[in-house]
């Protein structure tokens, strides 16, 4: 009994301590992939278009003014969304479109859970059983207040 209480306390502690991080998610059927930070960056910058199984990556973004999008962009890509538009202009010249934009984390979860190759990001407090976590991405941005 004491061990169970201790385990629960540790789990709660970990959960609250991990609030300032982003979870990069994929569908439950997606094969396990050990992606490092650079590989993840290449996916969201559309430099890497398919995974090792030949399935096309479909990276997803939230709207550019969404705090989560800003945090993700500055944490992983080291630039805010508006500064990256010049990069996407060059990619457009080469026939590469930026990641699809979805309106909310719920929309991201629904799309990721039903689309092979889709990859997105959400807050830990919005994680549920429809998707699985690929990468935990710590961030200096304060995001706890976005959990409702």
């Amino acid at each position: 009994m004491a061990k169970r209480i201790l385990a629960l306390a540790l789990a709660l502690n970990v959960a609250s301590a991990s609030a300032d991080e982003l979870l990069v998610i994929t569908g439950l059927d997606e094969p396990k992939a050990n992606l490092n930070r650079k590989q993840l960056e290449n996916i969201f910058l559309r430099k890497s278009l398919i995974n090792n199984n030949g399935v096309g990556w479909i990276p997803l973004n939230l709207p550019p003014d969404n705090p989560l999008r800003v945090a993700f962009s500055e944490t992983l890509l080291k630039l805010p969304p508006n500064i990256l538009e010049a990069y996407w202009n060059e990619q457009y010249f080469n026939g590469i479109s930026p990641p699809h934009v979805l309106a909310s984390e719920e929309a991201v979860i629904r799309f990721v859970s039903t689309t092979p190759g889709a990859i997105g990001y959400i807050l830990p407090c919005h994680l549920d059983k429809r998707v699985k976590v690929l990468v935990n991405l710590p961030t200096v941005h304060l995001l706890k207040n976005l959990c409702q």
Binding site: K38, S48, L49, I50, V55, G56, N89, Y92, G95, H100
Partner: protein, 345 residues
């Protein structure tokens, strides 16, 4: 005066910044600067235009012209296949004349990318020559000046290849390295193109190192013969390039050395360009160029300077104004005032 009417028309056609509204998931949608997309078909149609006001070489006053009107077509019928084409109307309309549309129409690019693996791509078709940086991002909405550095022009090396290219992306810690090798047989393979410049055959490669810290450096080599002079000796061209960007500041530089043993001669040169942000969305641009040797059979020893401003009020739109302190040879780089409006649509 006509230039300013063109500017006003472009701004009216642009629409408001609200054109950046996010698209529905699967319905066809248009996004300003990103084209018309059909997500279910993985199809996109877009392009850009450039309206240029420049001093012609005959010194009879500036002329306004629709310098470029390009249409992009992108299609991915399979996860490993990516088709791309760019058709361009080149110098078709101007205040001086309306060119024959058949002569103005060109297939600028037409290729398929085969994604062999996550990091390996095979490209087949007609595509931009990967020498330096300017040539592969030369579209007017992407550059800071209306004028183009001499060391990157088509008299130094052809802007297009017709053949095949293999690209391998490598990763070292937090850095990307791209290695490209290619072969060209334009004399037998060139797609619909009214240009008389181009390669006869070519073989080359490029290595680009992309640091995680905002800078890139590249090395290029190409061995080629030209379409106009296929029986003359082959050329060897070596290039090095550099790019640094941070907080709106940018420094870009390229240098080339071309050598052959006959009347085509040798040439070497470089440019150094710097960009600095001023007030909101205004940028100051300065460039120095030097070219020495035989440039398209003409002896050159030219110092060129460009000083200008660029205004980027919206992401897909740039308005440029500059003065070029040109080369001795007006046909290469005339002195004078240049202005342009360029937009992705």
């Amino acid at each position: 005066m006509p230039f300013y009417w063109a500017l006003l028309l472009a701004l009216v056609l642009c629409g408001s910044p609200a054109s950046f509204a996010e698209p529905p998931d699967t319905q066809p949608y248009y996004q300003w600067g990103r084209g018309m997309s059909w997500p279910n078909a993985n199809f996109n149609l877009g392009g850009y235009f450039n309206i240029l006001d420049n001093p012609p070489s005959n010194r009879q006053g500036n002329q306004l012209k629709l310098d470029e009107l390009s249409l992009f077509l992108t299609w991915s019928p399979h996860q490993r296949l990516h088709f791309f084409s760019e058709v361009e109307l080149d110098e078709w309309l101007s205040t001086a004349k309306i060119a024959n549309i058949n002569n103005a129409l060109r297939a600028e690019r037409l290729y398929v990318d085969i994604l062999a693996s996550e990091a390996t791509t095979v490209r087949i078709g007609k595509f931009l020559t990967p020498v330096g940086r300017w040539n592969i991002i030369h579209a007017a909405p992407l550059t800071w000046t209306a004028t183009r550095p001499l060391v990157t022009d088509e008299f130094s090396f052809s802007s297009h290849l017709n053949g095949a290219m293999l690209t391998q992306r490598l990763q070292f810690n937090d850095n990307n390295v791209a290695v490209m090798v290619y072969a060209d047989n334009s004399s037998k393979m060139d797609v619909f193109d009214n240009s008389t410049l181009g390669f006869d055959t070519a073989l080359g490669g490029r290595v680009n190192f992309e640091s995680d810290r905002s800078w890139q450096i590249g090395l290029s080599y190409i061995n080629f013969s030209n379409l106009l002079t296929p029986k003359l000796q082959r050329n060897d061209l070596l290039g090095v390039d550099f790019l640094w960007k941070k907080n709106g500041y940018e420094v870009m530089a390229e240098a080339i050395y071309r050598h052959t043993g006959d009347s085509q001669g040798q040439e070497h040169g470089f440019y150094l360009q710097a960009v600095a942000p001023l007030a909101e969305k205004f940028f100051a641009v300065g460039r120095y160029e030097y070219l020495q040797g035989t440039h398209h059979f003409v002896a050159t020893d030219d110092h060129i300077g460009v000083a200008g401003l660029a205004w980027r009020p919206y992401v897909p739109l740039v308005i440029k104004a500059e003065y070029q302190f040109g080369a001795v040879h007006d046909s290469f780089a005339p002195s004078g005032f240049f202005a342009s409006i360029a937009m992705l649509f």
